[in-house]
Amino acid sequence: MRNYTAMGLIFANMHDDAVPECTAIRSMGSLPFGGRYRLVDFVLSNMVNAGISKVGVITKSNYQSMMDHLGSGKAWDLSRKNEGLFFLPPRTSDDAAYQGRIRSLADVMAFLRRSKEELVILSDCHMVTSMDYGALVQRHIETDADVTVAYRRGTVPTLTDIPILRTDAKDRVTDMLIGRVNDAEECYGIGVYVMRKDWLIQTVNEAVARNLYHFERDILQSHLQEIAVYGYEVESLVMPIYSLSSYYAANVALLDDAVRAQLFPSRRPVYTKVRDCAPVQYGLHAQVTDSLVADGAKIDGTVKNSIIFRGVNIGRDTLIENCVIMQDVTVADRCSLTCVVADKNAVFREGRTLQGFDTYPVYIAKNAIV
């Protein structure tokens, strides 16, 4: 038996500006990843696998793809009579009114008040990880913290506003630096927080009254003496998405057995929307090595070191190397693509050649015809 009740709140649009190429038409949370997933799937699955059965998804803009993806929440077993999945779009369409996390939380105050869970886990979608939220919550309870911040030790991703933590021997946060990026190894927050729901409601109300809107800066950083903020080090794999090249690198990293084993542990499945496509069909001329291929693909060419999403079509005598090819892309015969990130439904006509570099992949927009 768990000794707590917790609910989840996911911020789908947080860090949209990190990968502007792909988020022009969608939120960060609905960014396709790893052949058949979207970034939000990892967060949702982490929550569901920790026994959380009430999750609110907070969106700000561009949320059609997210709504379509989540549907009733059935795929995550969140289509429930009690609790389940709640889609929380903004109260106003006025973009200027959007002032960060506090504003979003103020908008969903009624939802929070109605909920009977004691604890809330807040999570962004930009860090791909399969972590045990149960252990995180346990730590939060043990330290009797007001807020627990999940962090990872490593090279800090070049993300605006990323919090860097300094902690004492008991992992209490003594200092927080925001947006200071250097090459040193640091403890950086991964956008996952645990707190008491009542505390969150009260804090957000006060912040709104004082016209404060930056959760990390105005709440945490400036009150480290008064409120007990504790860190929780995540030791499992975390892949930050903070640019097109890091997005590309995180996808290609899945070709490593150890990375897949950590991201898809058999006891904590990653759930996603079902698409009902046929198995992958490999033709007579197919030569596929070191690649991840999702169902519904048809391959008759050569694929090396690439991530192939659902429903992709790859023609004969075509070479795909070091690429990320999203859902329903068609690559006709005799093409050659190297280090390309092709967004959904893009079409490569016969004989096209495109080449990027692994630190600077070529991005082909959704529905583009090359």
Binding site: T272, G283, L284, A286, L292, G296
Partner: protein
């Protein structure tokens, strides 16, 4: 109150499928895996949904647990409806006693009240043994146009095979004047596909009469259809010319799977206008390593392939290690084939574990006496030890011990 349905489908899924031997030891035939991510029953269920039929009764009898679990609420087929949708109908006890389903007609008879609550005009009778994509709505349109009492879907089969089927002899307008079960000298080549549409009023009447006859075997083919014909009811044949395969034997199941790899066979599972739905395993995409060689095959999510796969259908979560070779075979979910093992012309059921260097089945060109060749089958959960050999045509139901090579 149940909303009236124009047509209710009744799917006969109680068959044991005894000619699939080890594969149906613990599951009913309609639950047998097929085509990489499907089970046989996905085809009739998906056909129903795609044809606009909202109510399906699934009659179960033999080993129903896995089949019932698989169908569940019917959600994968969009058959979890408020009062329509899919319903599992096992035999049950009444105040006058209890009966197993004695025959196909009796199974429907025992569920008259299920059909009646929808007050349908027509009833579609299906079986869970066949792989095909068919629009039942077009067949229903033909039934109405002919003002028929019974319409039977038929397939034109080669003359030499006709004596294996129930054959319909028809007049020029498609009306049936004679029904012959497995005739020695077939007069026509129109074989019944086991798909019937009845006008409900008529069927109801004949089912009640058939039940009252103690000499009847309570079977559609043997009793009900001949009785209707003898009474001069309007019976029509409806020609179907797509892909249709009875997967009742090991050989036909194997063939039907490999048919999916043949571009000339008209069975396209990726046609978005006629999807075949199934319950998804929800695993990560398949991974092909640097040493993988996969050609002319179908593979499903969750697989991890480092060996060679040719002309094969591989289900979810299968592992093929380096140096292993899979040729002309069907590997059901969760199979592991370890380093250097060979699998030729075989069907490996769920979770079979093939040890290092073991060999299952044989290639026909490598066997001297072809009469001893055939598809090898390994039953679910069987472990084949390191270096062991399972010969062609085998029906392996128990673990095979490791063979220690002499130094």
């Amino acid at each position: 109150m149940f909303r009236k349905q124009e047509c209710v489908a009744m799917l006969l899924a109680g068959g044991q499928g005894s000619r699939l031997y080890a594969l149906t030891r613990h599951i009913a035939k309609p639950a047998v895996p097929y085509g990489g991510k499907y089970r046989i029953i996905d085809f009739p269920l998906s056909n129903c949904v795609n044809s606009g039929i909202e109510t399906v009764g699934v009659l179960t009898q033999y080993q129903p647990l896995e089949l019932s679990d698989y169908i569940g609420s019917g959600q994968p087929w969009d058959l979890d409806r408020m009062d329509a949708g899919v319903h599992i109908l096992p035999p049950y006890q009444r105040n006058k006693g209890a009966d197993w389903y004695k025959g196909t007609a009796n199974a429907i008879y025992q569920n008259l009240h299920f059909i009646e609550r929808y007050n349908p005009e027509y009833v579609l009778i299906l079986s869970g043994d066949h792989i095909y994509k068919m629009n039942y709505d077009e067949m229903l349109a033909a039934h109405k146009e002919n003002n028929a009492d019974c319409t039977i879907a038929v397939l034109d089969v080669p003359k030499e095979e006709a004596s294996r089927f129930g054959i319909l002899n028809t007049n020029g307008d498609g009306s049936v004047y004679e029904f012959e079960e497995k005739p020695k000298e077939p007069k026509s080549t129109l074989a019944s596909m086991g798909i019937y549409i009845f006008t409900w009023e008529k069927l109801r009447q004949y089912l009640i009469a058939d039940e009252a006859d103690p000499t009847s075997a309570n079977d559609f083919g043997k009793n009900v259809l001949p009785a209707m014909l003898a009474a001069g009811e309007r019976m029509f044949a409806y020609r179907f010319d797509g892909y249709w395969k009875d997967v009742g034997t090991i050989d036909s199941l194997w063939e039907a799977n490999l048919d999916l790899l043949n571009p000339k066979v008209p069975l396209d599972l990726s046609d978005p206008s006629w999807k075949i739905y199934s319950r998804n395993p929800g695993m990560p995409p398949q991974y092909l390593s640097a040493t993988a060689q996969v050609q002319n095959s179908m593979l499903t999510e969750g697989c991890s392939i480092s060996g060679k796969v040719e002309y094969s259908v591989i289900f979810a979560g299968v592992t093929v290690e380096e140096g292993a070779e899979i040729v002309d075979s069907i590997l059901m979910p969760g199979v592991t084939v370890r380093k250097g093992a060979k699998v030729y012309y075989s069907i490996l059921a769920e979770d079979v574990d093939v040890g290092e260097g073991a060999q299952i089945g044989e290639k026909p060109e490598e066997i001297a006496n072809l009469s001893k060749w055939g598809i090898a089958v390994v039953a679910s959960g069987v472990k084949v030890g390191k270096g062991a050999k399972v010969p062609a045509k085998a029906m392996q139901e128990t673990d095979v011990e490791e063979v220690i090579a002499n130094a």
